[in-house]
């Protein structure tokens, strides 16, 4: 399998801040790749370099086999971009926008019109084609933006935080649209700070922090890196949490306790033995459990593990406090 995107040791500085600091990436043709990281990690800078909007200071980046700096024109013919902010002419109507972009991709006038109609239909915007884009809802605007980036069915599609700022319904609309693209042979690079979004849409995920990729793999591989499965036990009486921790057959140093939710949580190695052991130990001690469950770690736990911060945000690194958001 060839790589549709290759990035080697790219650096980009803004003043004395390094937005990209030795960024490496390889994305296989026809796959969906997620770039996951907090605000300011360098995800958008990476996308702007790859879409020829920004020249890297150092390093090499190729998209669809062409160098983004030296062969920008060739790259531009093969990519689509859904940026963080709607890249549409707000004064014009939806159809006017798509026709204009189609003409700028050098479709003939008739083709541009036909293609605009096709895309409006496909993204459920056929009825609103005349309305000015500034009157669109957030979800509609995003779908039109996505339609505009698909006018020539690009080889590589960049989606920069495609659902940021959308309500759950808008998010579901965009996710549905992205899923329907997969399988058409298009390579997708998706940036997101929503862990669930990467988990839902991406084949592989690169975790980005401070301008570089700090981990790479499938969602399952990344989760495995943090130490496999966990057991959650919720007690009826939160006062018994201490006693439960003492008697459960778990590694005491790894147990985390959430007193408000009357819950304790710990990594396990042998899933079934741990579950059976916990049930038995609690029953013998007469401690009532409301819920006992085995689960995979969440990507939040993965992210915090990889960036080296304690799960409760115990290190004083403030910019990361808001880094991990719940997706819905």
């Amino acid at each position: 399998m060839t790589d549709a995107i290759v990035v080697e040791n790219v650096r980009k500085r803004y003043g004395d801040k390094a937005a990209l600091d030795g960024f490496d990436l390889a994305v296989g043709s026809g796959t969906v790749h997620g770039l996951l990281g907090p605000n300011g990690a360098g995800k958008t800078t990476a996308v702007r370099v790859l879409t020829t909007l920004l020249l890297p200071d150092e390093g090499r980046a190729e998209v669809a086999g062409y160098d983004v700096a030296r062969e920008a024109g060739r790259v531009r013919r093969r990519i689509g971009l859904l940026g963080q902010h709607a890249a549409l002419d707000e004064e014009l109507g939806g159809r006017q926008n798509l026709e204009m972009f189609g003409r700028l991709y050098h479709l003939g006038a008739r083709h541009a019109r036909v293609r605009a109609d096709e895309l409006l239909e496909r993204f459920g915007l056929a009825d609103t084609g005349r309305k000015a884009v500034k009157q669109y809802s957030g979800g509609m605007r995003r779908r039109l933006d996505l339609a505009a980036s698909l006018i020539t069915e690009p080889e590589v599609l960049f989606l920069d935080e495609p659902t940021t700022g959308l309500d759950p319904r808008g998010r579901a609309e965009v996710w549905g649209a992205v899923r329907s693209l997969v399988g058409g042979g298009t390579t997708v690079l998706l940036t997101t700070q929503y862990l669930e979004e990467a988990d839902q849409l991406a084949d592989r995920i690169s975790v980005v922090d401070r301008g570089r990729v700090i981990a790479d793999g499938t969602a399952d591989e990344l989760k495995a890196k943090t130490g496999g499965d966990r057991i959650d036990v919720v007690l009826r009486d939160g006062g018994q949490l201490g006693a439960a921790v003492a008697l459960l057959p778990l590694d005491k140093s790894e147990v985390s306790v959430d007193a408000d939710r009357r819950r304790l949580s710990a990594p396990v190695t042998d899933r079934m033995a741990a579950l059976a052991g916990a049930v038995r130990a609690l029953e013998e001690a007469g401690i009532v459990a409301e819920d006992i469950a085995l689960r995979r770690p969440t990507l939040d736990e993965v992210f915090l593990h990889l960036t080296g911060d304690g799960p409760a945000g115990s290190t004083g690194d403030e910019h990361r406090d808001h880094a991990v958001k719940e997706a819905v």
Binding site: T51, T52, L53, L54, L55, G73, R74, R76, R77, I79, L81, G83, H85, A86, A87, L88, D89, E90, E91, L92, Q96, M100, F101, G102, R103, L104, Y105, H106, L107, G108, H111, V114, R115, E118, A132, A148, S149, I151, T152, E153, G184
Partner: protein
Amino acid sequence: MSTTYEESRVATYETSRAGAWAYVLTDCWTMTRRELAHWARQPVQMIVGLVFPVMMLVMFGYLIGGGRGIEGNYIDFLVPGMLALTMAFGLEATMIAVTQDLNKGVIDRFRSMPMTNGAVLVGRSAADMLQSALGLAVMIGVAYALGWRVHGTFGSFLGAVGLLLLFRFAMLWIGIHLAMVAGKPEMVQAVQILVWPVSFLSNAFADPDEMPDWLGPVVEWNPMSHTATAVRDLLGSPGGEPGHIWPAIVWPLALLAVFFPLAVRRFGRLSR
């Protein structure tokens, strides 16, 4: 996918040199049509742009104008000056429009597309030139109603209009360049404040001979004064002097030779 997809994909791929030139023209035309579509969607803005200079003309002609040592009718003297002033103020309009455009997300899409680099700017300048030509027509119509008369041949009238539009074209590219230098809309105000004194330090309203000794030469040196004097000369208005037609051609061309390449170059390197 349907056939349009395959055809469209082929269409955007490598093309011959002749094809590339055809695309330059198509791109510029597409971007011009974009600006015209904006007019159609927002006619009020466009109309205000046409009415404002007319208000200025009436205001200066009747409220402020006193004739100040001008031989003959002050309106006859004022109208060519106001026409030149309107062209100079176009710098501001262009600058605001470009700054607003550059701060919109759509510019990122244009720049990530395989289109001609400067087509966005060409579209802007075509639309602005069209608006300026319309503006001149409206002002000349109103001035005529106020009693202003053209003395001279139809050819010299066309020559005068040509000089005004050439001056506007130079102002336009200065405006585009300044918009990119200023970057943010807040910075535009600072530049706007400078446009006014430069425009008023001209012979649009008064004869430089009547001004203080130190001011007269400054005013006569102003490129806008050359355009205004040449237009007065061609239209047979008071204040016209021969010998200003060449400066009125050379000055805008010189400004264009500087600012056109600067603007195009800067647009190509935006945030790169």
